[in-house]
Amino acid sequence: MTRKMIKDHPILNFEHEKKKVVKFTFDGREMEGFEGEPIAAALHSNGVQVYRITPKHERTRGFFCAIGKCSSCFMIVDGVPNVRTCVTALEAGMKVETQTGMGILKPEK
């Protein structure tokens, strides 16, 4: 699927063509994003809006504050839960997963 990016803007020039495209996965599906952009922005442009399911009422949660303050966009990234995807930069090969519930910390090896 092609990403929904803003291309023609009267004032801003995003220079998307100069950015490095990297592949990552969301719940096992392969997607493309720009290296260094927030994971949440990459997902949103790929049409993904639901980032986690709350522990108690099982409500869907997504993007909200975009400045790392509200906890709405917590996801599991490369096995680590509760990652603030709005302020975490996308890297090639990242494994991004919907977080259901509180998230479980794995003991360090």
């Binding site: 004032i11 639901v50 980032y51 869907t60």
Partner: protein, 367 residues
């Protein structure tokens, strides 16, 4: 443990200005910001600023950000200024003045600064309505981040809640980005922001629903619409509910100062409605009741970026002068000009609310 003369918390317009001034007096400065990119909300603004030449009138917000970055770069090269982005300051321990922070999600560390400028900015307020937690309900700042920093459209059709300056400006920015605006909902009987912004939006045919509120967001897993309804002067619902077709609801109902670190530090705090929340009491040089801590920008009371930059300059300069006696003369000379500029920014009818708020928290001098 890492040490520094001055720590600036927050890399928005106030924090950047504070860091630049402190470095200009020869202090070693560390600036920490939680975001991936510096500039706070300033780099998301596409409109031209008002005011006078000193306040960059006629220059777009993100371009003002670039001017600050040039100054920052100069002091970085001189080795006076160290920048930590994607770094969240998580605590201030008043027993020993140590500050804790995390870089990204994994690295945790400590720093001991001699002086701190808190320029932590603000966070969005929310209002209660069914389904206000569904994905698709986004803060105005978040919408600006997506579309103006990263070039991602937040949705196809947006309902804006709030006709203050942020609601009006972001509505216009959405249309610049090619996104439809279904309407603007405002509880008050009049537009809160500047008429010039409102007029631009009305000319483009976007309805502004005054004395209306959102009663419900529609959707199962994500936003599929909204219901709005008229309210009377006592905010009671009147008339019939109206369904609005939209896939995004943008909340522009106001901000509140981010002040947790100021509380942790034991700064004297006061709730001031005109400044939109709890703020630290401070003197004219922005020093709080804690002798090592200064405050600037939205963290000191919600205002706009021009005032935040001047406050930042005052706070950075004053914090630096407290360590460098030779800087006191510079502080005296520059602060007279900076205080005059703040006075001009807060003059007239639009500044009345701010002036009233500041009267409640500003003290002569901590002595």
């Amino acid at each position: 443990m890492k040490t520094t003369e001055i720590l600036v918390v927050g890399g928005g317009p106030a924090g950047l200005s504070a860091a630049i001034e402190a470095a200009s007096l020869g202090c070693d400065v560390v600036l920490m910001d939680s975001d991936l990119k510096l500039g706070g909300q300033l780099i998301k603004q596409t409109h031209k600023f008002f005011g006078s030449r000193e306040e960059f009138a006629g220059t777009r917000g993100f371009e003002i950000g670039n001017l600050l970055f040039d100054e920052v770069e100069k002091y970085k090269k001189e080795g006076k200024l160290e920048i930590f982005s994607n770094t969240t300051v998580t605590g201030y321990y008043k027993e020993d003045g140590i500050v804790s922070y995390t870089i990204g999600e994994e690295t945790y560390d400590l720093i001991k600064p001699q002086r701190i400028v808190m320029a932590t900015g603000a966070q969005e307020k929310r209002i209660a309505f069914p389904n206000n937690d569904l994905p698709g309900v986004y803060g105005a700042g978040a919408v600006q981040t997506l579309m103006n920093v990263y070039g991602v459209a937040p949705g196809e059709k947006v309902l804006m809640i709030g006709a203050g300056n942020i609601g009006l400006i972001v509505s216009y920015q959405l249309m610049q980005a090619g996104v439809k605006v279904a309407g603007i909902v405002e509880a008050m009987p009049r537009i809160g922001g500047y008429w010039v912004h409102a007029a631009k939006i009305r000319r483009l045919g976007v309805p502004i629903y005054l004395q209306h509120t959102i009663t419900e967001a529609l959707g199962d897993k994500v936003i599929e619409g909204a219901v709005i309804q008229e309210i009377d002067n006592t905010f009671k619902l009147v008339g019939e509910p109206m369904k609005i077709d939209c896939d995004t609801i943008c909340m522009a109902i106001g901000l509140t100062p981010t002040c947790e670190l100021l509380w942790s530090a034991g700064c004297e705090m006061k709730f001031v409605p005109q400044l939109c929340g709890y703020v630290a009491r401070r003197d004219a040089m922005m020093r709080t009741s804690h002798p090592d801590i200064w405050v600037a920008g939205d963290a000191a009371g919600i205002e706009e970026a021009s005032a935040a930059m001047v406050e930042g300059r005052i706070a950075g300069l004053a914090a630096a002068a407290s360590l460098k006696p030779e800087g006191c003369q510079m502080l005296k000379e520059k602060s007279t000009d900076y205080l005059k500029r703040l006075e001009n920014l807060r003059a007239g009818e639009t500044g009345a609310k701010i002036r009233c708020g500041l009267e409640q928290v500003c003290c002569e001098c901590w002595g």
